[in-house]
Amino acid sequence: MLRSGFDFIGRVTLFGAKALRDAWVPPFEWEYLLKQLYEIGVGSFALVVASGFALGVVMTLHTRSTLVQFGATAEIPVFQSLAFFNEIGPLVAALLMAGRVGAGIGAQLANMRATEQIDAIETLSVNSFKLLVVTRIIACTLMLPLLTTFMDAAGIFGGFLSEHVVSHIGWRLYLERAFDGVVLADFVPPTLKTAVFGYLIATISCYYGYTTNEGSNGVRKAATNSVVVSSLVVILADVILVKCIFFLFPDQAI
């Protein structure tokens, strides 16, 4: 069990490393990369923004009920923005991507393997790994930070609406309070860490889909494993990356 676990980690690591290396070797699949950027980025936009908005509303409702006891409701906006910038935005956007994009990548590549489409690409002298895997990994790595930024914005907007209904606070005042004392280091490192999440989600999902050889059963397994394993890995990686951010930006740890 332990041995097969390490074996799996080794194979996925080599798979991801090969993708990183091949990403810099021409010919570059620009057209297919743009298609993936669109499918992953634009395709996930509505889900991410709607989730961010709903979370923003709910977060404010919960925070208000606690802070009102201490007469600190004026702090709601900054709590909201810091929570979204530091953790909620990056982690929830990554988990949503693992669910939507990870399952999609795993199932699609496994289906292409089962129906010999990947073999067909190889017989046409086209490098299927670069075309199918490298483009998806790059697209996920680039799009997740962007989607996280939209989730943060939607969360803050949801928080504002929720607060506006109760206290009639204006948009400008809410924003002033939300960004009071917030520095660039509160936003940039946690958002950039999602590029690592995107890389991990795509690598794991592509690995399951691209390497399967079990026909239609492989499609089901690849889709399920892609979501389960990449979600788990994202959460574990978050622990490590937060520690790294605290190490590199000690002010964030206070």
């Binding site: 010999e116 073999d119 067909a120 190889e122 017989t123 046409l124 002298s125 490098n127």
Partner: protein
């Protein structure tokens, strides 16, 4: 063959030399040897599971032989790196049993995909023209904008053939062209293959169960039985052999 693996006979397009291949301890091909001359059509016959499709996949380098040599245009497929393999594959086309069309692309895109990458000197207009001409050749001139799932089984086979031919390969490998098709559609596919053979002088290796179609197209037969080469020769030569097992495979 010479020591460096080069075929002495320049007319040989594909050669199998004592090829062995197994999966999970089960031997699929056992010391199989035969060759295909340029411009020749070879049909591989045999029961299901006797390694016919594996033979094709060894020819195009999707699988590697456990022992022996697979030579394509005098290149040993097992010893080639990625670039060398891609170079040899550019001379080959492959029609899969399931057609294996890219299901997220239209037919036009399916055919244009290899052209964009392997013929970068072609202008977009030239690519478009090549795609249209090839689709017209297989009778799908008006279906370029369709997605693969909108096509019947026979149309998918034709589209797969068009994609295999779009780069004008010297060697065409065809896996079960008539499987899952009715008699008339299968006959149409056979006619297309005959046309490719006579007009383009393409070397062809066809895996099939359809002895009727095979007799129309083939210059030679390879008959596989339980992983071994049962017979290799022209249909006339094999017809003369007094081997009941062989006659079961090659009689209509």
């Amino acid at each position: 063959m010479s020591d460096n693996g080069q075929t002495k006979d320049d007319n040989i397009a594909i050669a199998f030399e004592q090829v062995e291949k197994g999966f999970g301890g089960r031997k699929i091909l056992d010391k199989v040897s035969f060759s295909v001359a340029r411009g020749e059509a070879l049909c591989i016959l045999g029961r299901s599971g006797t390694g016919k499709s594996v033979t094709l996949k060894l020819m195009i380098g999707l699988l590697k032989a456990d022992a022996g040599k697979v030579l394509v245009e005098a290149e040993d497929m097992a010893s080639l790196e990625e670039d060398g393999l891609a170079k040899v594959r550019r001379k080959m086309g492959y029609l899969f049993q399931s057609a294996a069309l890219f299901d997220s692309f239209t037919l036009n895109e399916n055919l244009a995909m290899p052209l964009h990458r392997l013929a970068p000197n072609k202008s977009p207009e030239e690519v478009k023209r090549a795609v249209e001409e090839t689709l017209r050749e297989v009778g799908l001139g008006k279906d370029g904008q369709k997605m693969p799932n909108a096509l019947s089984g026979g149309m998918q086979k034709r589209a797969g053939l068009a994609r295999a031919l779009v780069l004008q390969p010297q060697i065409l490998l065809v896996d079960e062209p008539s499987s899952g098709l009715d008699r008339i559609t299968a006959s149409e596919i056979d006619s297309l293959l005959m046309k490719v053979k006579t007009e383009r002088h393409t070397t062809m290796v066809i895996v099939t169960h359809d002895i009727h179609g095979a007799r129309k197209i083939a210059d030679k037969f390879v008959v596989l039985d339980q992983g071994r080469l049962l017979a290799f020769g022209t249909p006339e030569e094999l017809d003369k052999k007094q081997d009941n097992r062989l006659q079961q495979f090659i009689s209509e």
